[in-house]
């Protein structure tokens, strides 16, 4: 008995997509579309640009599906493709010349007391935000990020470190208050 698409593992779906299975690839898009779009938005892309790049990434992923052999997750693989495409777009527009520090954002905890990563990321500079997102969101190594962004490795490392320091400064109090908020009363 054949399994339905929803029962298949990503690796099985990718193998069938590599053989031209568009329905199978559609299932992969359904599963990971939001994650890829979310990552691009966290990297600083406007929603419409994020959707555009995510779409290009999935189309490219379909053509290159035979390259995915199950090392790592499909989500990680497609996120890397999307992140690289976004960086190329941004590089074309030369947006990294401006290192504008974002305004201090006091609110990093939403009404439910859950840490809001998206809000905290807004407190990072654009390059820090991209570096942290690539490192922790797309799972890219520092050398991979350096190559993709055409930046020296040391610069990437310091951007990631500074970005994480800023996130830590904002998320740590939120973590504490989030934990205590359940004990009200």
């Amino acid at each position: 008995m054949s399994k339905s698409l929803r029962d298949l593992h990503d690796v099985e779906l990718a193998a069938q997509a590599a053989a031209g299975g568009r329905r199978e690839y559609g299932e992969l898009v359904r599963r990971h579309g939001s994650a890829v779009r979310g990552l691009l938005r966290r990297m600083g892309a406007a929603p419409s640009l994020a959707d555009d790049v995510a779409q290009d990434a999935f189309l490219q992923g379909f053509q290159r599906c035979s390259e995915f052999r199950g090392q790592g997750t499909f989500a990680g693989w497609i996120k890397k493709i999307a992140a690289r495409l976004y960086l190329k777009r941004v590089a074309r527009e030369a947006r990294y010349v401006a290192e504008v520090e974002a305004d201090e954002a006091d609110v990093v905890v939403d009404r439910a007391g859950v840490m809001d990563l998206d809000e905290a990321l807004k407190t990072l500079s654009e390059t820090e935000r991209v570096c942290v997102s690539l490192c922790h969101g797309a799972g890219m190594s520092h050398p991979e990020i350096a190559a993709a962004m055409d930046l020296p490795l040391g610069t990437v490392k310091s951007h990631v470190k500074r970005g994480l320091d800023k996130l830590r400064a904002r998320l740590q109090p939120a973590h504490g208050s989030g934990g205590r908020s359940t004990h009200v009363g």
Binding site: G20, R22, Y25, G26, V29, R30, G33, S34, A35, R37, G38, L39, R42, D51, A54, Q55, F58, L59, F62, M115, L117, V132, S133, H136, G137, L164, L167, R168, L171, Q172, H175
Partner: protein, 133 residues
């Protein structure tokens, strides 16, 4: 919180992407783009195949094996054609239909066989592409 605890927490937060409300619309857009690209690819390949086939047939029709002034090129082609025909002839003899003379008709038989094979290949390609679509 130590750095050792913080980094995995950040990765967990990154992994928690909420599903977007327009997920179905995004999927439909990607699928429509895939469909469109596939159609263009099919059209381009079919056109290329047809153009190639037409050129091959035209060249074949214009090719004169019994031309009076033979250049080195035509001699070479003729030799290659004769070799191929000889090989095919021996194959036919092996199959017990050796009386079927490929050399008959100044190479025209070979030309039609090659043309037929090209058409068959093209048709097979079209069928495969239509299955992809």
């Amino acid at each position: 919180m130590s750095a050792d605890e913080f980094d995995p927490m950040i990765e967990r937060l990154f992994a928690q992407t909420p599903r977007m409300a327009d997920e179905a619309l995004f999927l439909a857009t990607v699928q429509a783009s895939m469909e469109k690209r596939s159609r263009w690819r099919t059209l381009a390949l079919t056109s290329a195949g047809l153009v190639g086939g037409v050129l091959a047939v035209r060249e074949g029709v214009n090719f004169n094996f019994s031309a009076g002034d033979e250049t080195t090129l035509t001699q070479g082609v003729r030799t290659a054609a004769a070799t191929a025909q000889g090989a095919a002839q021996s194959g036919l003899e092996g199959l017990g239909v050796g009386s079927f003379d490929l050399m008959d008709g100044s190479g025209m038989m070979a030309f039609w066989i090659v043309a037929g094979a090209l058409v068959a290949l093209l048709a097979a390609g079209l069928v495969k592409l239509s299955q992809d679509v």
